[in-house]
């Protein structure tokens, strides 16, 4: 029985689809990661226009207060199991916009991320390495960070 579940986890992790949602400038390097030189489809990642088919939400850099409700709604519409990848310095602590109060400094306190990728913006190789870590998590059956807690559970959106 365990073996079959393992197989499912493996299969899921090898075709990781992400919700196509850009919140900030890191999406530019994400586009480069999709491009011919880095080509993340080699690893089974695919951007999908609808969150209903997505396994992964990428926080691409900064999250402003205005886009947060849309981000949380997108996350809520995704089917379980779902994971979150946070790109760039902004999604960790506001990065270069740390002094700007229109930007949320710690979006991952609201929506916890499983893997952080450092950089401003992170290089495409780093993004792919971050995605590989998510794969590893899925294979081992580790529950996602957002399912363990986060402010979004108490918020209306």
């Amino acid at each position: 029985m365990l073996k079959i579940y393992d197989f499912f986890a493996h299969a899921k992790s090898e075709s990781l689809w992400m919700a196509h949602f850009c919140t900030g400038c890191c999406s530019l390097e994400m586009a480069a990661a999709m491009g011919p030189r880095y080509d993340w489809e080699r690893y089974g990642y695919l951007p999908t226009p609808t969150p209903r088919q997505a396994d992964l939400l990428i926080i691409t850099g900064l999250v402003t207060k205005k886009i947060l409700p849309a981000l949380l709604r997108t996350y809520a519409q995704m089917p379980e199991p779902k994971y979150v990848l946070a790109l760039g310095a902004c999604s960790f602590d506001g990065g270069p916009y740390n002094d700007s109060l229109a930007v949320i400094k710690n979006p991952t306190e609201i929506l916890p991320a499983d893997v952080f990728v450092a950089g401003c913006p992170p290089r495409p190789e780093a993004i792919i390495a971050g995605l590989e870590e998510i794969k590893e998590k899925m294979k081992q059956g580790i529950p996602s960070a957002a399912s363990q807690g986060g402010l979004y559970k108490e918020m209306e959106f």
Binding site: L28, G35, P36, T64, I67, L68, S100, L101, M155
Partner: protein, 547 residues
């Protein structure tokens, strides 16, 4: 045609000065004269308004309004100033939107950020700022950001509530029996990026479009005032990452002007070189984005392949692919080593190898021509009226290009001409984008050749000439600086105070703001399937739209 000086003399002014080559700088004594002067300027040919920029002087208890009028045809410009009261209930001025349609959103922005009320404005609603800032004028010097942000979650709740109210009220006032509805295009639409178009449609026909922007509002203009002159570069380059070099050039030029610094010849040529590399990287994405919006991803893939080589050059030069921070007041940040130019040659070779295929398959594509040649037509008159610039303006046959109109860096020594099309349709904008890519490559070749020759003859010292010292503290002053950014003209208005270590006010006028204003006009009466086509053709980036 009356001379500008004679025209301005007829009104009561504090001063009329010549500024740069083509500008007249004038301060009106009475703000009531504004509408009359604006009318006279328009009749005199200055039909375009670049932006409206208020500056808040807390100590003097005034708000100084700055208007930048431009004449796209004969290249005369006027920088008009006037003072108004700072008191919130008396802080008002006549709107110029009835005369200059391009001022519409700029006045709304000034209203949102500074609380300036524009009398007789047709549609004075807040723009860009999120709902928790409504009515609070966050860019005023006495606004307490920390107190406002003490309870972030409550502010977020305000936004969520507004979002829900709007959702519930979307269809109110629309007959339930009819086929009319309000559709949200974005902010999660794959082709849109973080912008939301509220599309009021009847079945498939678009009745009107109301763009809701501000999803990536980072308050950059306020952020720079918290940083020193060098630290501000980080904020300025994030105006839009696709073309960050040219926005840094605009800012650096303004600082140099106030400091009175003249940069070296080598730094000027390097700015041309880096600026064009950055432009190529942006145009490549722009062309890809246009086809992406229609669902064809091949162009984006080809272009990204080519673009990577140009990013390689930026990486070898500055250590970063995108966030280069390579331009600083006083020159360019790094020296040049010979192997870097070899890297650039690889990129140029790559472009030359793909450009013929690119043109034959995608630019002259008959399907695209059929689809886009009659869509989204912008006339030359509308370009002037709505203050459009860059690729969009040139595709309509209007000869505007700051590189030629008001040459900066070393562009006066470059052999180039306006790249224009005739009809101003969506297809023309695509063709223009591609022709400008070719032009940029040509400019890079000229600059590269010149730099190589001068290094060989010993005129340039590439490891030492790149920077001159700029004082850390600047005198009181103000400057405007214009550059031809990849999407069009960027105008930066920098104000400093005595012994300043950080900017007092930096206004950044970015082109996408005006282009987004056009959406309603272009899409009225079209169908829903035209939205991605026209939106993609306008080459809009949310980064410079929201700032």
């Amino acid at each position: 045609m009356q001379s500008l000086y004679a025209l301005l003399q007829m009104y009561e002014t504090e001063y009329i000065e010549d500024y740069k080559k083509s500008w007249k700088k004038v301060k009106l004594s009475n703000a009531e004269d504004l509408l009359k002067v604006a009318k006279a300027l328009k009749a005199n040919g200055l039909k375009t308004i670049a932006t409206v920029s208020p500056t808040d002087f807390l100590e003097k208890n005034i708000i100084e309004m700055n208007y930048f009028f431009e004449d796209l045809i004969s290249k005369r410009n006027c920088w008009l100033k006037c003072d108004i009261s700072r008191e919130l209930d008396k802080c008002e001025i006549e709107s110029i939107t009835p005369l200059f349609k391009g001022a519409n959103w700029h006045e709304r922005e000034a209203y949102s950020m500074f609380g300036v009320k524009f009398l007789h404005h047709p549609d004075l609603r807040p723009i860009i700022i999120s709902q928790d800032f409504y009515g609070k004028a966050p860019f005023r010097k006495d606004f307490d950001w920390d107190a406002h942000e003490a309870n972030t979650l409550q502010n977020i709740q305000t936004i969520v509530d507004a979002f829900k109210t709007e959702e519930n009220e979307n269809d109110k006032g629309i007959d339930a029996e009819s086929s009319e509805t309000v559709l949200n295009w974005g902010p999660t639409h794959p082709a849109s990026g973080p912008i939301r178009l509220k599309v009021h449609c009847d079945g498939e026909d678009v009745i009107s479009i109301d763009p809701d922007i501000g999803f990536v509002w980072r308050a950059l203009e306020h952020l720079v005032t918290k940083k020193d002159f060098i630290g501000a570069i980080v904020a300025v380059e994030r105006l839009c990452f696709m073309d960050n070099i040219n926005s840094m050039i605009a800012y650096a030029q303004a600082v140099e002007e106030i400091a009175g610094t003249e940069i070296t010849e080598f730094a000027k040529w390097m700015r041309v070189l880096l600026g064009e590399v950055s432009r190529i990287s942006s145009h490549a994405m722009g062309m890809g984005g246009f086809y992406n919006a229609l669902g064809l991803h091949t162009v984006a893939m080809w272009n990204m392949d080519m673009r990577e080589f140009f990013l390689d050059f930026l990486e070898s030069y500055s250590g970063a692919r995108i966030a280069t921070a390579a331009i600083e007041a006083g020159g360019v940040r790094y020296g040049l080593q010979e192997n870097m130019l070899e890297e650039l040659q690889l990129a140029l070779d790559k472009f030359d190898a793909t450009k013929d295929d690119m043109r034959a398959i995608f630019v002259k594509n008959p399907t695209m021509k059929m689809r886009a040649a009659k869509q989204g037509i912008i006339t030359a008159q509308e370009v002037e009226e709505y203050s459009l610039c860059g690729v969009v303006a040139r595709a309509s046959g209007v000869k505007v290009d700051v590189r030629l109109d008001e040459p900066y860096a070393a562009y006066d020594k470059i052999n180039m001409d306006y790249v224009t099309q005739k009809t101003g349709s969506a297809n023309d904008r695509l063709v223009n984008l591609f022709e400008e890519l070719e032009q940029s490559v040509d400019i890079i070749k000229q600059a590269k050749k010149h730099i190589e020759e001068c290094i060989k003859s010993g005129k340039f010292n590439p490891t030492k000439d790149h920077m001159v010292k700029v004082p850390k503290k600047l005198p009181a002053g103000e400057a405007i600086s214009r550059v031809e950014w990849s999407r069009g003209e960027v105008l930066m208005h920098l104000v400093t105070q005595e012994k300043a270590t950080s900017p007092y006010r930096l206004k950044m006028k970015a082109p996408s703001f005006n282009h987004t204003m056009m959406l309603d006009k272009l899409l009225k009466g079209q169908t829903l399937s035209d939205i991605p086509l026209i939106f993609g053709s306008l080459y809009i980036c949310q980064g410079d739209l929201d700032r």
